[in-house]
């Protein structure tokens, strides 16, 4: 999925303008000219400059706003990408209440089944990986993985 450089350039330019405007509102250190605002403003100028250059080069090679590569033409790939993003978001939103172990097994199971791994292999891999992480990160490294429903 190649987005035309001009489109990327316009997005960058808009982002740079917003950043610059926001950076100007940052308070100065009393009695000094160079404070928190200088560096973000310089970055915004740089990003904006890149944006302009990309717009120029993108317009020269314009083949439409987006050129779809092979994978991007199929619904299949998009669904898979969305599922993976969704799985990570599920973890972020539910792990603290439900707990690491059940959420991890569920996330792994769905991902593995989506990759067409046979269900019993998927189940075994999901449980084994979760237990391994629980033992290494949770046990050995003492990371407080959320207990959730399994907790007191």
């Amino acid at each position: 999925m190649r987005v035309n450089d001009a489109v990327i350039g316009i997005l960058l330019l808009a982002f740079a303008i917003v950043t610059f405007a926001y950076a100007r509102t940052l308070p100065a250190i009393p009695g000094q000219e160079y404070g928190a605002a200088v560096f973000p403003m310089l970055i915004a100028v740089g990003l904006g400059g890149c944006g302009v250059l990309l717009v120029a080069s993108g317009l020269r090679h314009w083949q439409g706003a987006v050129v779809w590569s092979d994978w991007a033409r199929t619904h299949h790939s998009w669904t898979k990408l969305a599922v993976v993003v969704g799985l990570v978001m599920t973890y972020i939103l539910t792990a603290s209440t439900i707990g690491f172990v059940p959420v991890s097994i569920l996330v792994l199971l769905i991902f593995l089944m989506m990759m067409r791994v046979r269900w019993w292999i998927a189940a075994a891999a999901a449980i084994a990986t979760t237990m391994l992480i629980q033992q290494t990160f949770g046990g050995l490294l003492r990371v407080p993985l959320p207990l959730g429903l399994l907790g007191p």
Binding site: I8, A36, P40, I43, W71, Y91, V107, F111, V143, P144
Partner: protein, 499 residues
Amino acid sequence: MSAITTAFGLVFQPSVLVTILLAAIFGLVVGAIPGLTATMAIALLVPVTFFMDPVPAVGAMVTCSAMAIFAGDIPGTLLRIPGTPASAAYTDEAYTMTRNGEGEIALGANLLFSVIGGLFGTVVLILSAPALAEVALQFSSFEYFWLALLGLTCAVFIGTASPVKGFVSLFIGLFVSTIGLNNPAGVPRFTFGNTELTGGVNFIAAMIGLFAVSEVFRFVISRSVQATPQAVVGNLFRGWGRMIVQYWRQQVRGNVLGTIIGALPGAGADIAAWVSYAVSKKLSRTPEKFGKGHVEGIVESTSANNAALAGAWVPALVFGIPGDSITAVVIGVLYLKNMNPGPTIFLENPQYIYAVFIIFILANLVMLPLGWAAIKGARTILRIPREILMPCILMFCIVGAFAINNSAFGVAVMLVFGVLGFLMEENDIPVAPCILGIVLGPMLEENFVTSMIKSDGSFLAFFERPIAAGLGVATLLVWFVPVLLAALRSRQAAIPREG
């Protein structure tokens, strides 16, 4: 002398040696599996090293990256798929050798010259770093500003095909580094009232996203079928003596070039391999043999990519300026361990520096037996089904990003950067400058603002001290010479058309 003894004591402890061994095996497996890069190996390793003492943490990262760069040659030779980008330069050549029935010579050369290249880079590191540190002791904020800027500039110009896109990546990284309270004025920037953001964007979570999660996305949409590798049956050690004698020039050239390119900020093992392969072909007496299964170019470039790893540590240890994305991460970890890189570490904690040197030598020596074992076990490693591996890697990424602050916010940062990294690479925007920007951003800003305040806003002060002036001129040359050359070329091209 006592610092060296202390260093040996720090390294030769059972727990440290076991850590190094495990990291070596991990690096070999990750490097050998196509689609998993050396940087990804480090990204997965960092959350674990987070909980270790400085010496085993650094030891694990040094060993893991050296092994992964070597192991990337194995699937390149057997499957024609480079395990890591650093092997891509000579994958076709090595695979052709396998098809000609010389697979064991190609892999043997990879192993032998990876070890020699790594050791050469280490010797350069040992000899040059302390000497450079003495010079660096006299640096002020002006020199550090130019050094950081020169480093970032090299990252953009050397590491990427399109400098504009390299700059885009760099500015994104620099922007991310400004988020939070960590700035000279201590003002919250771009936090929008979010308390989690006041601490800034954690670079470990960001790099797990950029280098590991984005690979998971790429795998999900790929339709590659896992191929069965060719077997290597012959004797790996065949022809080692002959190759060392016959190709000593190529090997030395690869070592030197690799170390130099590695030491340049922003250019790492992959670029060292590409440049060395091209140089080898250009200077060869038999350039017509290249591409048809000839070991000469492999010798030179496989020496170069391993030499580059140690070379990258020179600026990292001496100035705190990373030589590639792996050392960028290492620098971040060193800061977390209160082992701040820079010239003063050579005075205050020389035992740590010596420990790093010892680990480098150890890592390259254990590569011989472990590398041999990895080649022999290559069929098994390459048969690990990736559709099972990738979901498990995603879960390790999630837990790794969580473990840094024990909060789900790290996982969210990881996801955002995973999507960003995926979109960037789809559009040929390199991700390495971005991570350099995140790591170097605070240093660049601090030295810039301090220098501006010291000089009352006069830019000329940046050129008043001799070393600062030299570095400044060098940076400006890197910026403007390509533009001038391009302008000259287009004028020359225009003249005949007009006439």
